[in-house]
């Protein structure tokens, strides 16, 4: 398995002034932060501002985010807060101050946290898959990212050439890599999230 830098080690390197560690942290959590932002009705430029504000907040609070495993939750909570603040600023109707309008048109009482819990579980699950892929590393990571990472059908011939395998081996290799990833995810507790989802309705 390729070398993997824990959040704790990257944060410590950032505190010591290592910009390469920062690049790795942004790469690791960019989709998590963006997925939180997408759950809120905001203009494109506001979304991009919030994306930068969330990571800027992390730079400011590097010295306080120390608990291993807490960074994903910290970024999620910080991003949500920034989105709510942006929504509040854009809200003109005082009657809507007691509710948040969701993308599907339904309204949720901010005091009702059940949807937030389900959303957070789903966000956490996705981030676990990204984390698992990063820990997997090597050709498996490269293959799975190429097969699933872009819209449309991948170019198998180019992919096989890049990975140094036969085109006919892509299918079996894909299956083996997914099994390996499943093993990594099991170790990261991915199954716990799936079990919890069976008890509560899923609304992604």
């Amino acid at each position: 398995m390729a070398s993997y830098h824990t959040d704790g080690s990257l944060l410590e390197r950032c505190r010591a002034g290592d910009p390469a560690a920062w690049d790795l942290l942004v790469a690791r959590y960019r989709r998590l932060v963006w997925s939180v932002i997408l759950k809120h009705r905001l203009r494109d430029e506001t979304r991009e501002d919030i994306f930068q504000q969330a990571f800027s907040a992390l730079v400011e609070h590097l010295d306080s985010v120390r608990e291993e495993g807490a960074l994903a939750a910290w970024l999620t909570t910080t991003t949500k807060r920034l989105c709510w603040q942006a929504s509040e600023r854009g809200r003109r109707d005082a009657a809507r101050e007691t509710a948040l309008e969701r993308d599907d048109g339904t309204r949720t009482d901010p005091a009702d946290t059940r949807q937030d819990d389900a959303d957070f579980a789903r966000l956490t699950e996705r981030q676990l898959v990204r984390d698992g892929l990063e820990r997997l590393g090597g050709k498996c990571r490269e293959l799975l990212e190429a097969l699933f990472g872009s819209a449309g059908e991948p170019n198998y011939a180019l992919l096989a050439e890049r990975l140094g395998i036969r085109v006919g081996s892509i299918g079996p290799t894909r299956a083996r890599c997914l099994e390996k990833l499943a093993g990594v995810l099991e170790g990261l507790g991915f199954g716990a999230g799936a079990a919890a989802r069976e008890k509560s309705p899923e609304t992604d």
Partner: protein, 191 residues
């Protein structure tokens, strides 16, 4: 004895993993947003430059003149440091600091997270704990990390790749109290 309240967790299904992988590309932020976040690296790099010069800090407390300069794992007759590398690849020092009643016991090793750490303690030759401040410096004497020894005289430091020396300033020893440990020439640790 198994915990009856612990429910076995299902192994993630391949179909579920595929679905999450397939949908993940939709959460890629626009490149303009991403470059903005990556641009914050300049603030990270500035943390190193903003670290106050230890020379200035030491100047507030004591003069570096008269400090004990020693080499990690050095075997020079002018030093009393003697280091060994154990079978884990860690470098261990257990030696008296020349010209003082201080003893340094410390281990320098590389963890599984690829970080090199220096962990140990300063104590008096009598065995009693020493208090003071310890710092890691780069080649320009800029502070990369610093902290206080705890009540037992122990410390734990992360050595960044550009760490060149460790300075210890004993509390209450305002004259000739600093110890400077030169890390140059030592390995990064590991087997």
């Amino acid at each position: 004895m198994t915990d009856p309240t612990r429910q076995p967790q299902p192994r993630p299904s391949i179909a579920e993993i595929e679905a999450l992988l397939r949908g993940d590309a939709g959460f890629e932020p626009p490149s303009s947003a991403l470059s903005g976040a990556l641009g914050l690296r300049s603030r990270i790099a500035a943390r190193r430059a903003d670290a106050p010069s230890l020379a200035a800090k030491v100047g507030d407390l004591m003069d570096l003149a008269g400090a004990r300069f020693v080499e990690w794992l050095g075997l020079s007759p002018d030093t009393a440091l003697a280091g060994v590398r154990d079978d884990r690849g860690a470098e261990i020092v257990d030696a008296a600091i020349p010209g003082s009643d201080l003893v340094l016991v410390a281990e320098r090793s590389e963890g599984e997270d690829a970080l090199v750490r220096l962990v140990g303690e300063f104590r008096h030759a009598s065995g009693t704990a020493v208090r003071g401040r310890i710092a890691v410096l780069d080649a320009d004497n800029r502070v990369l990390a610093d902290g206080e020894l705890d009540a037992f005289g122990m410390f734990s430091l992360t050595l960044a790749g550009n760490a060149r020396r460790v300075v210890f300033m004993q509390r209450g020893a305002e004259v000739n109290g600093a110890v400077v440990i030169d890390l140059a020439g030592a390995s990064r640790g590991g087997a």
